[in-house]
Symmetry: C2
Subunit: 265 residues, 2 copies
């Protein structure tokens, strides 16, 4: 059961949503896949100086960025998961939208906000979701969610084959740790990260590490992008592999869990 998954690694210009969308159009020339993952906050940039600044760039889940991506999804017949500054009433979320050829499918609002994001965004209050996107069951988490093993675990136990992981990484550990996330859950993971530097706040220079990647359930890195260039990549994956939680005749990573003996609250 093959499925083609890919990512775009971009370098947004802070605050210029239209330029950043147009740049994506350019990066997507010739892109063919079943699922495309774009970075966290891919149209706006990351380093908001205030909640008001984020609010000025926020859109509703049915806004122009969703329209833009849905048109592309129809045109290319694929599903897209992408970061969005989402406004809902007075709330602002660091969200990912999920869209496809038939229009908007859903969204996820980041539940583990990183550092000063807590001054900018409201935290999501719904579990990370899993969507049926064609033959694949795709779970969504955003960037810093990786640091909490419960996020990927919850998605995998909710039957995700693939974890789509829009990111804006500034710390070094995530690309390597996503290998552990795939090994422990036997899922695929697509981390779509950005590159470039933002220094909009004095004394706070953010260097984004790129290294967008696709990892398989055996912990193999199928593709990993550079740390400093805009790029795209597509790889073919085998969904059956992610549904096989056995690693040998005696061990099934889900059935072997000793839920009665864990202390996780």
């Amino acid at each position: 059961m093959t499925y083609r998954v890919g990512f775009i690694q971009n370098q947004p210009v802070f605050g210029d949503i239209e330029a950043n969308r147009n740049r994506i159009t350019h990066l997507l020339e010739g892109f063919e896949a079943d699922l495309l993952v774009l970075p966290e906050l891919f149209t706006t940039g990351y380093q908001f100086a205030s909640r008001e600044e984020a609010n000025d760039l926020a859109e509703t889940i049915s806004g122009p960025t969703t329209e833009f991506l849905t048109a592309f999804a129809k045109n290319k017949n694929l599903f897209i998961i992408a970061g969005l500054v989402e406004r809902d009433g007075d709330a602002i979320y660091n969200s990912s939208l999920v869209t496809g050829p038939d229009g908007l499918i859903g969204r996820y609002r980041k539940i583990h906000l990183f550092d000063t994001e807590k001054n900018i965004f409201d935290a999501g209050d719904e579990p990370p979701p899993v969507f049926e996107l064609g033959p694949a069951r795709v779970g969504v988490m955003i960037c810093f969610d990786w640091r909490f093993p419960e996020t990927a675990r919850s998605l995998a136990l909710s039957n995700a084959d693939v974890i789509a992981h829009p990111s804006n990484l500034v710390l070094p550990h995530c690309p390597q740790s996503m290998i552990t996330r795939c090994l422990e859950n036997r899922v695929y993971a697509i981390t779509a990260d950005r590159v470039g530097i933002e220094q909009r706040i004095p004394g706070e220079t953010l260097t984004f590490i790129g290294q967008s990647q696709v990892v398989d359930p055996d912990g193999n890195v199928l593709v990993r992008a550079s740390s400093d260039r805009e790029e795209s990549a597509v790889v073919e994956i085998d969904l059956a592999k992610a549904r096989q939680k056995s690693i040998n005749p005696a061990n099934d990573l889900f059935r072997d869990r000793r839920v009665d003996l864990y202390r996780l609250s």
Copy 2:
């Protein structure tokens, strides 16, 4: 609050408990630390052809291996955590014993048995424990337990500063994944592995990967041994670092958990 932790990486001769203990004595010459971790099944070797064979080499938790290590612990004034084929009535466990200058302190019976271990051992039916060993709170897990994020998480949430991890690793991923375990829980981890090859069963050659290591709560590998030599190492760690779950002014890795939104059963 400094604490010196170390490991021995040995190459046991299968079934020759006395020779293996004597070898440890040799490897421990000049060893000075507060906590020593020895590999899983360090006196017996790993590849039992049958449960009967394991039973023949099994000892009670107060048996000669514990006596041997306790004498050493008294002599050197340190705590020791080490693998043992433990017999208790008709049951046989893949255990780790915990001893110190004042005698036996406790044990842990492996709860996630790997592959054909399921034909040899009974699975433990108690949660992975945490012991106060001097100023340190030390949790114990064994080898394949690493693959289940719940094990290290349970220990960390039970206030472990350090995870002692006796191992006999044959797959390649654990040393790297233990970095993730330390990053997600902000604990130290001491993986004591073995080296050498066992081919006691036709068609089943086991090559143990060594690479015993100590990792800190920031994911730094403080020391990592070779993949093919007997070795020991000691490093000084700072327990306060493991009790600080904050990674920046806004994020505390324990307080930020969204237990209400996880689906882990």
